[in-house]
């Protein structure tokens, strides 16, 4: 397997892709704006001294709708890809997915409880209703992951294989509980639940955005300190210990960062699959498994790909909108199969 690009080229390419994705994501939609106007309006929003004549509409659309949506896409894509890197490192398997430790299904369960429970009891005040959903999803993800981690521990050591199996069992349990809620739900809540499970950046607002941005920045700042330790972990747990790595601490950090990151992403945008699985794998094919390159490159690639997928979701059936989870699955699933077949050859 030859590497295609040097890290520097990779970062330049991904940086350019990311800028392009941001630009298109700001410009295109039900009301498409001229690219130049988009650029000028965006610069004005950032405080650049540009004449605002004729930009009022562009500024309004950008400021109120497209900018929060784009930021949400960047953060969700980045943090999902980063969590994928963490999980593939933890399980030392290039085909591992952030969902393995139960965080996605836990978040789905939390959201189902919030949606269906909220509609049944109906006593949730308008002001906190949107936060309640995100909070329940976040806590659900964190709770199930904590349980999986707990089940994987024996004699002060974490057994990754046991964690994997516990993750599968708890994912099945959480999914069937979500199924039960689906059965109990009335038509309106059923629709909400379904759309939430398919994921969407629609309705992004700054209120929903800032907790996720905070978590993304935290995780993105924390994990790079462990890039070398993650490289050593790929050799095997005991080999990493012999190289002086605190393996138990590292595993704890990886699980916690993933739970935090994926929990916040799912809470903000629903279930979006395959980004965490495919992006790190793709980056690895381009420039190798070294986490010092892999991690920042995956953030950039994940953010760009999610924005592009969101563009497809917005434009494919315009003015209607596809759930983004469908788009990522349509791209991700065949790619995953391709990787499987390629590995066998």
């Amino acid at each position: 397997m030859n590497r295609l690009v040097k890290p520097r080229t990779l970062f330049l390419g991904l940086g350019a892709l990311c800028v392009l994705a941001i630009w298109l994501s700001l410009a295109l939609g039900p009301v498409s704006l001229p690219l130049i106007d988009t650029l000028r309006a965006a610069l004005r929003l950032l405080g650049a001294p540009i004449d605002g004549q004729g930009l009022e509409q562009a500024e309004l659309i950008l400021g109120q709708i497209r900018l929060p949506r784009t930021l949400l896409g960047l953060a969700v894509g980045g943090v999902l890809a980063l969590s994928g890197v963490a999980m593939q490192g933890l399980f030392r398997n290039p085909l591992a997915d952030p969902g393995l430790v139960g965080v996605s299904s836990g978040a789905a369960l939390g959201a189902a409880i919030a949606i269906v429970g909220g509609s049944m009891f109906g006593a949730v005040p308008e002001a906190i209703a949107p936060y309640l959903l995100s909070l329940c999803a976040f806590l659900g993800g964190l709770g199930v992951t904590a349980l999986v981690y707990r089940l994987g521990r024996r004699n002060g050591q974490t057994h990754v294989a046991t964690m994997l199996l516990a993750g599968i069992a708890l994912t099945a349990l959480a999914s069937s509980t979500v199924g039960l809620f689906t059965y109990l739900a009335d038509d309106a809540t059923l629709r909400t639940l379904t759309f939430w499970n398919l994921g969407s950046l629609n309705g992004a607002s700054y209120q929903r955005l800032w907790p996720l941005l905070l978590v993304t920045v935290l995780v993105a700042l924390w994990l790079p300190r462990r890039a070398k330790a993650l490289n050593a972990l790929l050799l095997g747990e005991s080999e990493a210990r012999h190289l002086g790595i605190d393996v138990e601490g590292l595993k704890r950090e990886l699980v916690f960062c993933t739970a935090l990151g994926v929990g916040a992403a799912v809470a903000a945008a629903g279930m979006i699959g395959f980004v965490g699985l495919v992006v790190p794998h793709l980056v690895r094919l381009l420039s190798g498994p070294d986490h010092r390159t892999l991690r920042p490159a995956s953030i950039l690639a994940g953010a760009s790909l999610l924005l592009l997928a969101d563009l497809v979701a917005r434009l494919a059936l315009a003015p209607a909108e596809l759930p983004i989870g469908i788009v990522t699955a349509f791209i991700g699933a065949p790619f995953f199969l391709y990787l499987l077949l390629r590995g066998r050859a």
């Binding site: 397997m1 030392r92 070398k228 050593a232 790929l234 050799l235 005991s238 190289l243 002086g244 498994p289």
Partner: protein
């Protein structure tokens, strides 16, 4: 100095090591021999801190093994396991460079050491190749280069533990590898090596420990330990022992 006193180890309720007293000496290669299941790998596991002793103590520089901070221990003690499960497409030199993780010796010095270790394990020609594209024996030599790099150039106070480093190697590379390990010890490092080949042990080891069912059967210089009686007792194998015509060390031939 790495040493164990009155070591007893249990695994799954069964005592796999009992009454082991052992000291690794600087500048010496200690070979550990014994049939399958004799406790060789368990001994290496305890010495490397991976397995807990049920009774007895493991001391590295007169301090309990478990009390060493990870990185400081890794600067004194390197371990080569029997098999590796690396499943990512690192380049050969990247795998070897992982051995430099416990050190802050700088990029330049690390690069020199990686080069030297690649040469020592005779894998310098594999530079740039993906680890996953290598054969089993080549992978084994890459990992040997990695642990050599971890302690390079090897000096008194360094300890190297190797679990069957020659198991997948062709005859030439069995000798190349053991010569590199021998050179490491000659520079002052203490080496423990698990071997199955009696003649390799006879040629390259300063001392040999024969293990039988978790008990030490005999410990001494090769000429003393690798005799027909102990080998018959431990392995159940009838052998002839002659002098190597050129080198003089024992040459063991199955009857």
């Amino acid at each position: 100095m790495l040493r164990v006193e009155n070591l007893h180890v249990r695994r799954g309720g069964k005592e796999v090591l009992a009454g082991i007293d052992l000291q690794l000496l600087p500048g010496q290669v200690l070979g550990v021999l014994g049939p399958n299941g004799a406790g060789k790998s368990s001994l290496l596991g305890v010495l490397s801190g991976e397995l807990a002793a049920h009774q007895g103590r493991v001391l590295l520089d007169e301090q309990e093994m478990a009390q060493w901070p990870g990185a400081e221990r890794a600067q004194r003690l390197a371990v080569l396991p029997q098999a590796s499960s690396l499943d990512f497409a690192f380049r050969v030199e990247e795998v070897v460079a992982l051995g430099r993780l416990p050190h802050q010796s700088g990029r330049l010095r690390d690069a020199q050491i990686v080069d030297a270790a690649l040469e020592a394990a005779d894998v310098a020609h594999l530079r740039g190749r993906s680890y996953l594209a290598l054969s089993g024996g080549e992978r084994q030599r890459v990992h040997l280069a990695r642990v050599l790099a971890q302690l390079w150039p090897g000096q008194a106070g360094h300890h190297l533990l190797l679990d069957e480093p020659t198991s997948a190697l062709d005859p030439l590379h069995q000798h190349v590898t053991l010569q590199a390990i021998r050179a490491f010890a000659d520079r002052g490092a203490a080496v423990l090596i698990i071997l199955h080949d009696l003649n390799l042990a006879a040629r390259y080891c300063d001392r040999v420990l024969l293990l039988e069912g978790g008990h030490p059967h005999s410990l001494g210089v090769p000429a003393e330990v690798l005799r027909p009686e102990p080998l018959k007792a431990v392995f159940g194998l009838e052998v002839l022992v002659q002098k190597h015509p050129e080198r003089g060390h024992p040459l063991i031939i199955a009857r």
